[in-house]
Amino acid sequence: MRLKERPKWQELLPGCVIDEPGNSVNYKTGDWKTLKPVVDKQKCIRCGTCWIFCPEYAYEEDEYGYFNPNYDYCKGCGICAVECPARCIRMEREEE
Amino acid sequence: MVEIRFHGRGGQGAVTSAEILALAVIEEGRYAQAFPAFGAERRGAPVLAFTRISDEPIKIRIGIYEPDIVVVLDPTLLKSVPVFSGLKDNGLAVINTNKGAEEIRKIEGAKGTLVLVDATKIALEELGVPITNVVMLGALLKGKPELAKMELVEKFIAERFPKLAEQEIKAFRRAYEEARVEG
C-alpha cells in the first residue's frame, strides 16, 4: 500500500510496518550536494569504478556501457572523482 | 480438610512424599495440593513440604502452620527442628526413629498420636540408601488409612521410581506393617 509521509493514525499498518520494499527511491537526496560529478566521456573507459564505489549507486549504466550520475540521488561526495582510474570525472559547482 | 507437614532434609525426598500422596488422592477424584516450602535450602538443610487433602476444591495456598499430621523423615531432625510446632492436640506425628514412644514423648512439645517406624533401617535394607520418603508414606497410611488408597499410592510410587518400583513398594509395605501406632 502507498504509505503517506504524514498519515492519520488509522492509516498506519500495525507496528508501523512499511510494505513497499525499497521505496526510499522516492526520496531524492540529490539536493544535498554543492559539487556535482561531471563525466568526460572522451576519457571514460567504462570500467564501472564510479558505480561500484558510489554509496548511493547514483551511477546508472546506459545502453553503450557508460555510467552516468543520476543527480536526483548523487550527494556530491566526490568518491567517484578520486577513484576514477581514467581521471575522467570532475567535480563542478552545482549552480554552474 | 487434612493438612500434613513433612520434615526432611534437602535431597531426602520430603517433597516426593508430599507429592505422591497428593497424586494418589487426586487420582481418586478427590482434591489435594502438594508443595514444598519455598526456600533456597541446599542439600542437607532441613526442609518442609506440605500436602492438603480435601473432598472440596482447595482454595488456601499458604504454608501449613497448624497441621493435623506431621511426618518426620529423618530422626536427627528431632533434635534440631521443632517438628511438633503447631500440631493439633488430636494430631498425628509420624516419626522415623528406632526409639520407643516414651523417649519421643520426652521431646519438648511432643503431642498427639505417635506413629513410630525405623524407616532408615527399612530403607537401607530394601533400597540400600537411607532415603525414607516412600517408606514414611507406609507409616503415614498405617496411622491414618483413610488418607489415601494404598494401591493408588503404590501406583504413583511406581511411576516416580520406574527402575526401583518393586523395591520401593516393598519398603512402603514393610513400613506399613512395621509401624507402631502409640495412642
Binding site: - | I26, A32, A34, F38, R61
Partner: protein
C-alpha cells in the same frame, strides 16, 4: 478432558505445547524454571516440534521470541522478576511491533534485598508496556488462560503479546488437580498462526522503522486503540471456550459482590483465599465479598464500575501486592479509585498492601483488611495512604 494431578508449572508448559508453540526462547530464573525445563524436555523427546533456544539472557529471550514471532512462528517465553525487569526494553518493543508472543510470568518480587518469593512487583513494573495482561488464580486457570492467550494475541484484529500472571511458588510449584485437554478436543479452537506482515522474502516488509515526531504520536495512538479493541476478542475467545469446554472466564470476577457491603479487590491466587475468609465470616454475619481484577490490561473500566457501583457495596478494599514508592503506594488501588472517579454511587476505595516478597497472608490478616474497610466506613474517611497489613512496627 482428563483430570490429572500435576505441578502447575508443568501444566502451563503443557498448555503451550497444546498450542503447538514453534519457538521457545527462555532463560532460567526461579520460580519460572520448571515451565521451560518441561518444554525443553518435550522438544528433546520429539513430543513437541519446536525450536528451544537456550538464550544467554532474558533480554535475548524476548528479542528472539519477537524475531521468531515476526518471522511467522508461534513464540513463547517465560520469566519472573529480575528477568522481566531485564527484558523490559524489549517487552515494550514487542507490543509496539505487534508481535503476538505469549509469556508465562511466574510473579516474583524485585531486588533488593533479593527475594525469590512471590508478589506482584514484577508485573506492576511492566504495567504500561502495552501487553495484554491476565491473572490466574489456580492451576486450572493458568492452564486454560495460557492456552487461550495464543488465540487472543494472534487474532488479526489484535496482534499483541499476552502475559499470563500466576503467583510464583504459590502456584507454580504446587501439585494439584487440573483438567487437561487432549489435542483432538481443541483441534479447531486455535487456528494456525499467521502474521499478516511476517518477514517473507517473497513479500518484503520493513519492521521497526524510525518514527520521526511526525509519526510517533499516531503510532502510539494506533497501538492504544489496538489494545483497547482487543477486549472484544478477549471476551469472544473466553465465551467460545466457555461454550465448548464449560469453564467461564470474566474480566472482573465476583464472589458475593451483589449483596456485599465491603469487598476485597484482589488479583491472583489470594482471590480464592479471600473467598474462604468470606465464606467463614458470612457465617458470622459479615456481608463481605471478593472482586477479582482478572484482566489487568486492557483495564476493564465498564465491568469494574458495574460490579462495584451496585449501590450495596459501600467500601472496596484494594489489596495491592506491590508498592509504587513515593506515589500512592497502591498501584491497583490508584487505578481502581481513578476508574470510579466520575461515578455518582461509587464506594469508598481503601488501599492495603500485603504479601510482599512471599510473606503468607493469614486468615486473620484478610479479616483485618475488611475491618480496615469497616473502620473507614464508620469514620466516613477514605484514607489517602495505603495501609500495610502484616508489618512489624
Amino acid at each position: 478432558m482428563k483430570r490429572v494431578g500435576i505441578e502447575v508449572s508443568i501444566a502451563i508448559a503443557e498448555a503451550a505445547a497444546l498450542a503447538e508453540v514453534e519457538v521457545v526462547s527462555a532463560y532460567p530464573i526461579t520460580p519460572q524454571t520448571h515451565i521451560v525445563e518441561h518444554l525443553a524436555e518435550l522438544v528433546a523427546n520429539g513430543e513437541l516440534n519446536a525450536e528451544f533456544i537456550t538464550v544467554e539472557s532474558e533480554h535475548t529471550a524476548m528479542s528472539a521470541a519477537l524475531g521468531a514471532s515476526l518471522a511467522g512462528a508461534r513464540a513463547f517465553t517465560s520469566t519472573s522478576s529480575q528477568g522481566l525487569a531485564l527484558m523490559n526494553e524489549i517487552v515494550y518493543i514487542t507490543s509496539s511491533m505487534r508481535a503476538p508472543v505469549v509469556m508465562a510470568l511466574a510473579n516474583r518480587s524485585l531486588s533488593a534485598p533479593i527475594s525469590i518469593w512471590n508478589d506482584h512487583s514484577d508485573v506492576m513494573n511492566e504495567r504500561d508496556t502495552g501487553w495484554i495482561s491476565i491473572f490466574a488464580n489456580n492451576g486450572q486457570e493458568a492452564y486454560d488462560l495460557t492456552f487461550m492467550a495464543f488465540k487472543i494475541g494472534e487474532h488479526p484484529n489484535v496482534l499483541l503479546p499476552v502475559m499470563i500472571n500466576f503467583d510464583g511458588f504459590i502456584l507454580t510449584h504446587v501439585i494439584e488437580p487440573v483438567w487437561m485437554f487432549d489435542k483432538e478436543e481443541v483441534k479447531d479452537f486455535l487456528p494456525p498462526y499467521e502474521h499478516p506482515y511476517k518477514l517473507d522474502v517473497d513479500r518484503p516488509t520493513s519492521h521497526g522503522p524510525v518514527g520521526l515526531p511526525d509519526i510517533y504520536t499516531e503510532a502510539k495512538k494506533q497501538q492504544e486503540e489496538a489494545i483497547r479493541n482487543s477486549r472484544k476478542i478477549i471476551d469472544a475467545v473466553w465465551d467460545e471456550f466457555a461454550e465448548r469446554f464449560g469453564r467461564r472466564y470474566r474480566a472482573v470476577e465476583e464472589y458475593y459482590a451483589d449483596d456485599a457491603e465491603i469487598v476485597l479487590l484482589t488479583q491472583g491466587s489470594v482471590t480464592e483465599a479471600a473467598q474462604v475468609v468470606v465464606d467463614e465470616m458470612r457465617k458470622r454475619g459479615k456481608k463481605w465479598g471478593v472482586v477479582e481484577l482478572r484482566l489487568w490490561r486492557p483495564f476493564p473500566f465498564e465491568d469494574l464500575k458495574k460490579v462495584l457501583c451496585n449501590n450495596n457495596i459501600k467500601c472496596v478494599v484494594v489489596l495491592d501486592r506491590a508498592i509504587s514508592f513515593g506515589g500512592q503506594l497502591g498501584i491497583v488501588m490508584s487505578e481502581v479509585r481513578s476508574a470510579l472517579y466520575h461515578e455518582k454511587n461509587k464506594p469508598m476505595v481503601v488501599g492495603v498492601t500485603a504479601g510482599l516478597g512471599g510473606r503468607d497472608i493469614r486468615f486473620d490478616e484478610y479479616v483485618k483488611m475488611y475491618e480496615i474497610g469497616e473502620k473507614c466506613l464508620k469514620e466516613e474517611k477514605e484514607p489517602d495512604k495505603v495501609i500495610i497489613v502484616g508489618l512489624r512496627e
